[in-house]
């Protein structure tokens, strides 16, 4: 009897304690957000290394002249308006009264300082200079007006400047990358301030209450770096973090099935595609069925490329391999991006048609090929390559699969060591000009075109349209040129798109995320909701 009374009292006490704890937890959770991200942040210096996870943190601490909305449309940032003065000159009007967290006010001097710093950061393994080098002169008209001059008509100034973070001139003069990492000069005007960066582990941020725009709902934000995807899911399931990016597609069913969590996804600007070997040579990984090299590269024949494209059931890849987290694609950028071609679809899945094309091209019995792909770089990358290998085998092309981590893989791909291989491309400027100029323009060092054209596709008409578009300041005209270039290149199957992958976030029920095309995981786009 006494025992049971004691037990009841204990139970009541425990319940009260649990209630108190949960109230405390609720209050804390409305203020603090813990996010697990998938890749290592290597530096806080926003000009040192143009790397996705670094930029993801910089987005919180620093502002840019213009920024991108969740659909990759350009919207005002530190600049309130911008216009072309003439074909070769852009003028940006700066927002007044913006304060850096060291108390100094933003002026055009800081913008010029930041742009000048970009190409001069020592030891940068991946500079942002691609976005600043077209500017031949910077002119400060008044403290809130700045003009940039270009050597040729230049439509992409706002797109370029949407990648350049503005630092405080006063704080960053003479500063090294290490000074940013230590937090000493990590002074921006963004929504957050850096508290501490622990390399390989976490980044702690605190809200900048002097921010000029809408304030983030979270006072404290912690980014935890958890590269292992199972560990990331476990961190969410165990409640150690409030949100994670890139949960593996295989775990989605489980997370969705649990009422405590929400899964959000959105089509990304990233297209997953295959490169063909377009060189006049004995292609290194194409042989006849007996394993003897073919003296002619069959992939040079557009009918063979078309046959391969028709043999691929993109919908099945999207549904099964990607668990619905992709949509099939027959072009370079998705629907909402600039330069998308309405109605341009991928080749329909058609085994018979594919076989006929192969026979017409002189390969009625097919041939053998090794398909290469990266491992662990894109969502389910190895599985996609395997699926493609099985699908082409149905039209008589015997396919082997070889995959490797991105490091050694990209090095070999860039040297044309493969015949048929998979890659992904994120149109991070939000335009079709990004994949067109890098992937499909003829490789040309001096013009800076075709830098990632690993298959060495070349078509003078496509080149002409791309070069015209890159100098066309009128948006409507440029859009048409980009669309036409895309249509031509896709008719040719210069590269073979498979799908646009989705970016996925999983959160606790009481946190919601506004998903983004550019794949960023931004603390201020999470908001508390009733769970």
């Amino acid at each position: 009897m006494r025992n049971s009374r004691f037990r009841r009292a204990l139970a009541a006490g425990l319940a009260a304690a649990a209630l108190a704890a949960s109230v405390v937890a609720l209050q804390a959770s409305a203020q603090e957000l813990r996010i697990a991200v998938a890749a290592d942040v290597t530096s806080i210096d926003p000009h040192f290394f143009n790397l996705f996870p670094n930029n993801n943190i910089a987005e919180h601490i620093f502002d840019k002249l213009v920024q991108m909305d969740p659909d990759s449309k350009i919207i005002p940032g530190l600049a309130t308006s911008w216009k072309t003065v003439d074909d070769r000159t852009w003028e940006f009007k700066l927002r007044k009264g913006v304060k850096f967290t060291d108390g100094t006010e933003l002026t055009a001097e800081d913008v010029v300082f930041s742009l000048d710093r970009v190409p001069n950061v020592p030891n940068s393994p991946g500079p942002f200079s691609a976005y600043t080098k077209a500017i031949i002169a910077k002119e400060i008209v008044d403290p809130y007006t700045i003009r940039f001059r270009y050597a040729a008509p230049y439509p992409l100034a706002p797109n370029d400047l949407s990648t350049i973070y503005i630092v405080s001139k006063k704080a960053a003069t003479g500063a090294a990358t290490e000074d940013f990492n230590s937090g000493k000069v990590a002074i921006g005007s963004g929504r957050y301030r850096l508290v501490k960066y622990t390399s390989g582990d976490r980044v702690d941020l605190v809200r900048n209450d002097g921010y000029w725009g809408e304030k983030s709902p979270w006072e404290k934000v912690t980014f935890k770096i958890i590269k292992n995807e199972s560990a990331r899911v476990a961190a969410l399931l165990s409640g150690d973090v409030d949100a994670i990016e890139q949960p593996p597609t295989a775990d989605l069913a489980r997370i969705k099935g649990d009422p405590k969590f929400t899964v959000t996804s959105k089509i990304s600007h990233r297209v997953i595609y295959f490169n063909f070997d377009h060189l006049q040579r004995v292609s290194p990984f194409v042989t006849d069925k007996a394993g003897k090299p073919l003296d002619r590269n069959p992939l040079l024949d557009v009918r063979v490329r078309r046959a391969i494209s028709k043999a691929i059931n993109r919908q099945a890849i999207a549904d099964r391999v990607m668990e619905g987290q992709a949509i099939p694609s027959g072009q370079l950028v998705s629907e909402k991006l600039f330069g998308h071609v309405p109605g341009l679809k991928a080749d329909a899945y058609d085994v018979e048609g594919a076989k006929k094309l192969l026979a017409e091209a002189g390969y009625p019995d097919g041939f053998s090929i090794t398909i290469h792909g990266p491992s662990g770089r894109y969502v389910n990358d190895e599985k996609i390559v395997q699926a493609v290998a099985q699908m082409v085998s149905r039209i008589g092309i015997t396919a082997k699969v070889e995959t490797a981590p991105m490091g050694p893989y990209s090095g070999r791909a860039a040297k044309q060591e493969f015949s048929f291989h998979m890659v992904g491309w994120g149109a991070s400027t939000g335009e079709a000009s990004s994949p067109l100029r890098s992937l499909l323009a003829t490789f040309n060092r001096d013009k800076g075109l075709g830098a990632v054209n690993w298959g060495r596709y070349s078509n003078v008409k496509v080149d002409y349209l791309i070069e015209q578009a890159l100098q066309q300041v009128n948006d409507e005209n440029r859009s048409v040129m980009l669309q036409n270039a895309t249509k031509l290149a896709m008719e040719d199957l210069g590269i073979m798109p498979i799908h646009f992958q989705f970016t996925i976030w999983a959160t606790k029920k009481n946190v919601a995320y506004t998903p983004r095309t550019d794949e960023y995981t931004l603390a201020f786009q999470f908001r508390p909701v009733k769970g």
Partner: protein, 326 residues
Amino acid sequence: MLVFIIRRSLQSVVVLFAMSLLVFAGVFAIGNPIDILINPQADQIDRERAIAALGLDKPLWEQYFTFLAGVMHGDLGRSFVHSTPALGLILERMPATLELAFTAMLIAVVLGIPLGLWAGLKPNGFAGRAIMTGSILGFSLPTFWVGLMLIMVFSVMLGWLPSNGRGPTTLLLGLVPVSFLSVDGWRHLLMPATNLALFNLALLIRLTRSGAHEALLQDYVKFARAKGLSNARVIGVHVLRNILIPIVTVIGLQFGALVAFAIVTESVFAWPGMGKLLIDSIGVLDRPVIVAYLLVIVTFFIVINLAVDILYSALDPRVRLTESKG
């Protein structure tokens, strides 16, 4: 003894030199890190400039000699991706790994030797059999799987322990950040350390058991018993001391292995140690960090082996620290 140590040190320098050359050439052969480091949007000229900025446009031998010249000044190069000195980066992560490895080894020793002794003394009892069966599991289950299972049970299902990370750290002696000084730190440390300890725990159990088993049949043990010494003294002094030599060797070598190969555990538990740094660096071909890491680890092994040799002579008076000629 002094001669022995000096000689060992000279040999070590040769080993370090050979190793650095191999690793340097190996990473060079894998490919050019700029291909993966640089943003894909960069054009050809930007790429060339980045390659030149990191000195990767020079021939291999020249890069290696630049590296050697740096080593002479105690500079192992700068990380390509962090732009901080590689050695500093490793030393910054070292406390986390050492703490994890020490705790794991402590768990393995504190549990492994008594359990092994028990199993050796009472080989046919229920407990003895259970211990031996359990140790087979410790050997055969893959670390990453056990780690994930621990997380599933203790973090996800029971919610007792945090699933990842290192927790708060305090400065030990005002210098080294450690987490074992706070309760929350221990909660973070417990699961990864246990996971890392499992293999060595099993190893120590089996080693102690077979040692004890053998020693019990020796004449000196029988003699000690015949002399009427207490059971505790027979086991604690005569048995344990004699079986300790192989155990110390294994602890020494395994400790090096724990530090060097805590990688899997560090990845599963997102423990910010050196192993994770190595994996991340290999992923982006950050050669200065890879080379520096391996040099540090080789040095580590050399020091441990030396310490083990010295310990031998303390444990067994018959062992003399002189190198045989030739």
